[in-house]
Amino acid sequence: MSKLVIEGVSKTFAATRALEKIDLAIEDNDFLCILGPSGCGKSTLLRIVAGLEEPGTGRVLLDGQPVERPGPDRGMVFQSYTLFPWLTVRQNVLFGSRSNEARAARLISQVGLQGFEQHYPKQLSGGMQQRTALARALANDPKILLLDEPFGALDNQTRALMQELLLGIWEADRKTVMFVTHDIDEAIFMANRVAVMSARPGRIKTTATVGLPHPRHYTMKTSPEFSRYKAQLTEEIRVEAMKAVQQV
C-alpha cells in the first residue's frame, strides 16, 4: 500500500479552478517532486495534503487514514520564513508536540547549526532559518515531509548547498518527501520521481522516474544523463508555462 494517496482531489477558489481531479500516490521512503509553472496549484495541492486547505472534492489518505486537519504526522517547511521569532533556534526545534531534546540536538548538528542554538531567527541568514525550519519539521518525526519551495527565497549558491544538505539527510533517513518546486534542476537533482503539473487548472500531466543513483553529488548536475532528464522535462513544462502566460 502506498504511504500517501491523493484521490480525485479538486479545488476551486471563488471562480478559479485551481486543481482538477488530481490522482497521485507516494510510496514509503520515496522522494517525489511536484514540478509546475507558477500559479498551477502545486502549493495548493501540498496544503491540502498538509490539511491546511480542504479539498473541494476527493480525499487524501496517509497510511490509509483520511487527512482532515493539520497534524504532526505531516511535517511542513514553507517558502516564507516561519520560525517563531520569539523562540531561539533550539526552542523552535523543540516546538513540535513530538519533538524531544535528543532528536533536536542531533538535527541541529545535522543541519550544521551547532553553536547557534541560542540565536533568535532575526540573527540568522535566510539559509540558516530554512535549515532550522527543516530541523524543526524533522524533529517532530513526521511520517512524511512536505516542502513548499523551501529554498525559493534563497540565492542560487545557498540554494544549491541547501539541496545537497536535504538530499544528504534524505539519503541517511529515507523519510518520505513531497517537494514542490518550479525549478527543473532542483526537481531532477532531488527527486526519485517528478510529477509535472499542467497550467491552471492544475492536473498531473505526466510523471517521470529519475534514475540517477544515490548518493548524488552536485557534479551530477552537469552530467549527460542529467541533461537528458532536463531536456525531457523542460519540454513538458515549457508547454504549460506558455499556457499559463497566455491565461493571464
Partner: protein
C-alpha cells in the same frame, strides 16, 4: 536633505535639545522683553519660583503622587480587563463579532463627557477619577489588542498546526507571544492618553491632584503655577514613556532588529 536617510545618534540628541533651547529662548524673549503681559504668561524665572513655592509650601508633591496613582490605577484596571478581552476578540471571530460593533461605538464616546455622569454615580472620590481613566482607556486597548492579535502572521499559525499544536496551544504558544510586543506598545500609547484624561477629571470636582492645582491657580491668575503644573505632567509623561520603552526592550529582545 536626502529623504529617509538616518541621522547619527549625536546629531539626533543635539537637534532634539536645540528645539527645547529655541522654545525656551522664544518664551524668555516674549516675557522678559515685555511683549506679553505677565497676567497671561509668566516668564521662565517666575515659573520656577512659583514651582518651588508649590513644592515647598503647598505640598504639591502630594498632588503629583495622587495624580500618578490615579493614572496608573485607572490604566491598570483598563489593561487588566481590556487586554484579555482584546485577545479573545482577536483570536475568536464570534467573540469579535459580538463585541466589536459596540466597542467601536463606545470608543468615540469622549471620556470627558462622562465626567458629570460619573460624578453622579460615583461621587467625587477616587473611584470616579479611576473610572474616567478607565472609560478613556478601556475601549481603545480592547480594539487595538484585538487588531494586533488578529493580525498575527497566518503562516506562523499554520506552521504551528503542522507541528501538532492544538487550537488552545495556538492561542497560548503563538498568538500571545507573537503579539506581546505590540500589546506592550499599545499599553505605552494608551498610558500616554490616560494622562490627558486624568487632568480633565481633576479639573472638575477634585480636591487634590495636578489638575486641581491648575484650576486653583487659574482662579488666582497665577500663570507661573499653571505652566509649572503642565511642565511637571510633561516630564512625568516623558519619564514613564522612557521606562516603558526600556522595559519593552528588555522583555522582547527578539523583536529588535
Amino acid at each position: 536633505m536626502t529623504p529617509l536617510k538616518p541621522v547619527g545618534p549625536g546629531a539626533r540628541v543635539a537637534l532634539g535639545l536645540a528645539f527645547f533651547v529655541l522654545f525656551l529662548a522664544a518664551w524668555a524673549l516674549a516675557t522678559f522683553g515685555g511683549y506679553v503681559s505677565p497676567t497671561f504668561l509668566a516668564d521662565p524665572a517666575t515659573m520656577l519660583r512659583e514651582g518651588w513655592n508649590l513644592l515647598a509650601q503647598h505640598g504639591f508633591l502630594k498632588d503629583i503622587l495622587i495624580t500618578i496613582w490615579r493614572v496608573f490605577g485607572g490604566f491598570v484596571l483598563a489593561a487588566a480587563i481590556g487586554i484579555p478581552l482584546g485577545m479573545a476578540m482577536g483570536a475568536y471571530k464570534p467573540v469579535e463579532a459580538f463585541f466589536e460593533p459596540f466597542i467601536s461605538f463606545s470608543r468615540y464616546l469622549p471620556a470627558s463627557a462622562f465626567i458629570p455622569l460619573l460624578i453622579l454615580w460615583a461621587g467625587t472620590g477616587e473611584a470616579q477619577k479611576l473610572l474616567v481613566i478607565f472609560v478613556g482607556s478601556f475601549f481603545q486597548i480592547v480594539l487595538m489588542v484585538a487588531i494586533a492579535v488578529g493580525n498575527t502572521r497566518r503562516d506562523l499559525v499554520e506552521a504551528a498546526y503542522t507541528l501538532g499544536a492544538s487550537d488552545r496551544a495556538i492561542v497560548t504558544r503563538v498568538l500571545l507571544p507573537a503579539s506581546a510586543p505590540e500589546i506592550a506598545e499599545i499599553s505605552r500609547l494608551v498610558l500616554g492618553w490616560a494622562w490627558t484624561y486624568v487632568i480633565v477629571a481633576e479639573l472638575i470636582g477634585a480636591s487634590s491632584g495636578i489638575g486641581h492645582m491648575i484650576m486653583d491657580s487659574q482662579a488666582l491668575l497665577n500663570t507661573g503655577q499653571i505652566i509649572f503644573g503642565i511642565v511637571v505632567i510633561g516630564v512625568i509623561g516623558l519619564v514613564s514613556d522612557f521606562l516603558f520603552k526600556a522595559l519593552n526592550r528588555r522583555l522582547f529582545p527578539w523583536s529588535l532588529a
